[in-house]
Symmetry: C2
Subunit: 196 residues, 2 copies
DNA sequence: TTGTATTCCTAACGTTTGTTAGTTACATTC
DNA sequence: GAATGTAACTAACAAACGTTAGGAATACAA
């Protein structure tokens, strides 16, 4: 009968959420059972319920946290006095950094948000939609100021956000290049294109 | 007691696979139950087993079909006498077209392949890996011939493949722009970049 | 019309699922 | 050391899952 190891200043709940993110990333939310999670945590399944309310709570804690991080960042970027192109590059680099450092949460949020229950599902959808609109608005500002090519702004947002999510494959591979190199490559390709 | 509608020259099995792809896309493979599928098909769950062997067969039929289409295309492209840049653009446009026309299969294959059972899982993984290597080789050829910027080829592949998968959001949105416009925007951004 | 496949049905199976109830062990405070 | 709250356990629940068995209805060939 071993207790959950609580190192640092993280609570037992935080540890469970962290392990859950890992498991959800690996197997998907639906395929990951509470008994799987319990095993990883080192405890019986029923014991988890001393710390969390339900399986779905785990998912919405993860998703909400990720969504808030991106919302906070775009708040910050919009407030600064920068050119549109600079704003875009900052956001793009932030996405890449998040994907390099907190990728488990980000991937789960990206891929499993559909399994959120109401009202968290509606909230998440709204926050996501709003974020993309604000991102697109920055691009449109850049087009107006002739910093950016005349392209469809929402398509550009779509490309950038999804391109970044490809970093998951990078994590799985043998990491021939470093995170910094990856970041520079991505920014170059997306801002300046492949063609010479 | 209604029978499965079999129009054109498609078999009942093909109809089930088609509806399954739609359902898997909507709810995810694990969350989509055979009873859900039966309801969509218009039949009782047990009746499906007169036409298919198992739920997992549905998934691997879908995934294998998608993987083969891309493999066939890259076979075709490699055989032609074209510049690397042209080859890349053809492949990119093919990905976009597939995502516009057969997106349900492609999305399911992209997102749910992890739930394949052996030996289909290993086969799929291998085919996917090989495809990406071949794609990266074309890019490296382009770099050598100075048609393409000096970037990390596998990062470029990763960006392109994942950018295209963002077209799913396009399908969900109110389609302000046409498929053709979307294609041109994507190709422009990825080949020439955002910056003016 | 009769015989034979095909396609559907109902009923049920054995698992696995998320979760609750009730109880025991540990940790902390007085 | 007694008291109290926290965190673990065992056992079990009802519901949902994929799938099978066996029989009834339909379609097609003779």
């Amino acid at each position: 009968m071993g207790r959950i190891q609580t190192l640092n200043n993280s609570s037992r709940k935080e540890i469970i959420v962290e392990k859950a993110a890992n498991l959800f990333k690996e197997k998907g939310y639906k395929a990951a059972s509470m008994r799987d999670l319990a095993e990883v945590v080192g405890v019986e399944a029923a014991s988890l319920y001393n710390h969390i309310k339900s399986k779905s709570e785990l998912l919405h804690v993860i998703c909400l946290d990720v969504a808030n991080r991106f919302t906070n960042k775009i708040d910050e970027v919009e407030a600064e006095e920068l050119s549109a192109k600079e704003k875009i590059e900052i956001l793009l680099r932030f996405h890449i950094q998040e994907m390099l450092n907190n990728y488990e949460d980000v991937i789960v949020s990206d891929r499993e948000w559909k399994h959120l229950s109401e009202p968290y599902l509606s909230n998440f959808r709204h926050q996501r939609k709003t974020y993309r609109k604000r991102f697109a608005a920055i691009i449109e500002e850049g087009i107006k100021k002739k910093e950016i090519k005349k392209i469809d702004a929402s398509t550009a947002v779509l490309i950038m956000l999804h391109a970044v999510s490809g970093i998951e494959s990078f994590h799985r591979s043998k990491q021939k290049i470093s995170g910094k190199e990856l970041e520079e490559n991505m920014v170059t390709i997306l801002i300046n294109g492949l063609a010479k």
